[in-house]
Symmetry: none
Subunit: 191 residues, 2 copies
DNA sequence: CCGATGTGTTCAATTTACTGAACGCAGTTT
DNA sequence: AAACTGCGTTCAGTAAATTGAACACATCGG
C-alpha cells in the first residue's frame, strides 16, 4: 500500500480554509515543508505531522483512519517485497537449519496466505508436528522433500503437490542434496 | 507534547514476541533505529513507522487510537494426478491460445484451490476481464506475464507474485517468448 | 571457564527531512 | 500599468532521522 498522506493533508487543510503559510505558522513549521509533504515529496516525521494536526486540529488516529481507506491497494510484489517470516513465528521452535519463508503481501488483511519457501539441505520443521487451523496446499518447484501428514509419509519431487487440513499434524523435511523450493498457500492465514 | 510512540511501539512489538532485529529485518530498517524510536530519541518518519506497523502487522489508525471424505484421505499428488481444467471451466470462453490449468486435488471439498498454470507464448485470458468471489494469489515460476487488476497493469517476472481480491476485474497475458509458469491459489474455490 | 548466540544500546557517517529565502502566478489597489 | 498581497512551488543549506558497525550484558552448551 502506498499511502497518500499528501492529498489527505491537503484535503483537511483546505476543508479548514487554511493556507499553507497559515497552517505552517500555527504548527511551527514552514510553508515549504507543507508544500513538499502535500506533494508526497517527503515523508514527514510523526512529530511534524502531529504538529500540523494539532493546529487543525485533528487526532492522528482520525487522520490515518481515512488515509488507510484511501490507500492505493497493492496487487503486485517484486521478489524483494516478499516479507521474510522468522522461523520462530512460523512454528519452527528449535530448528537447527535455516528455513526461508517469504510471505506474499500482508496476510493479516487477506483471507489467503501464500509463501515462497526455501529449505536448505537437512532442513526439518522438527519432530514435533505442526498443527493449526485451516487448510494448506503447495507445489514443489525444486529439490526433494519428505512430507508427513497424520500417519502418512511421502517423498515429493519437483512438480508434485500436497493438500491437506492443517489441523492434521504435519512435518516437512528436505532430504535432498540441494535447496528445496516450495510455493504454498494457507487459508486462513496462520498467526 | 509527549505523544509517547516509543513505549507504544515497544509494547506492540513485545506483544508479538519479536526482537528489535527481527522486526527491523521485516520492516526493512535497522535495529538501531528501532532502539532510538522506542526510547523516543527520534521521531520516525511516517513512512518508517508504517513499515514497522506493516511488519507486525497493525494499521496506523489502531496504533494511534489506542478434501472430500474418502476411505483414506489423500494428501499427496504426483504431477499426473493434478486434474486438468478445461479452459471453459476455468472461465476462458473463446480463448484462441491453449492454456494449461492443472488443479491440485478436488477443490470442491476444500476451502482452497491450488493451480499449476502454464501459459504458451501469446496466451491471454481475453479482453473481457474475469471476476469471481474470493481472493487469489500466485508466484511466477518461469516466463513473463502481464497481469491487469482493476486499473493497474504490471509485468511480472520469475520470482514476482500477486495477491488481490477476485471480485476485481483481472486478466493474464503471456507477453514473453516462452511458456509462462505460475503457481496460484484461490479461496474459496471458483466454480 | 570460555566461545557462541541472543538481547538492547551507542555513535560516526550517510541519507533525508526541514528551513529560509527565493521564484512565478493570480487578483487587487493605486 | 506598476505595485502590492496573497497563493503554492522550488532550491541550497542546515538539522535531524537512519544506517552500519561497533559496544556491553545476559544466557546457553562444550
Amino acid at each position: 500500500m502506498t499511502l497518500d498522506i499528501g492529498t489527505r493533508l491537503r484535503a483537511v487543510r483546505e476543508a479548514r480554509g487554511l493556507s499553507q503559510r497559515e497552517l505552517a505558522s500555527r504548527a511551527g513549521l514552514t510553508n515549504g515543508t507543507i508544500s513538499m509533504i502535500e506533494q508526497n515529496k517527503t515523508s514527514p516525521s510523526v512529530a511534524s505531522l502531529k504538529s500540523l494536526l494539532d493546529a487543525l486540529p485533528m487526532p492522528l488516529s482520525d487522520f490515518f483512519a481515512d488515509v488507510e481507506e484511501q490507500a492505493v491497494p497493492k496487487y503486485f510484489y517484486a521478489p524483494d517485497e516478499f516479507t521474510e517470516l522468522s522461523p520462530q513465528e512460523a512454528g519452527f521452535g528449535g530448528g537447527a537449519a535455516r528455513v526461508s519463508l517469504r510471505q506474499l503481501g500482508n496476510a493479516s488483511s487477506h483471507t489467503i496466505q501464500m509463501l515462497h519457501e526455501v529449505y536448505p539441505p537437512g532442513a526439518d520443521t522438527g519432530p514435533e508436528m505442526l498443527r493449526h487451523a485451516g487448510e494448506e496446499a503447495g507445489v514443489v518447484i525444486a529439490g526433494i522433500v519428505e512430507v508427513t501428514v497424520a500417519d502418512q509419509v511421502r517423498v515429493l519431487n519437483p512438480g508434485d503437490g500436497y493438500l491437506f487440513d492443517s489441523t492434521l499434524p504435519h512435518r516437512f523435511r528436505n532430504i535432498g542434496a540441494g535447496d528445496c523450493v516450495i510455493v504454498s498457500a494457507c487459508t486462513p492465514p496462520t498467526f
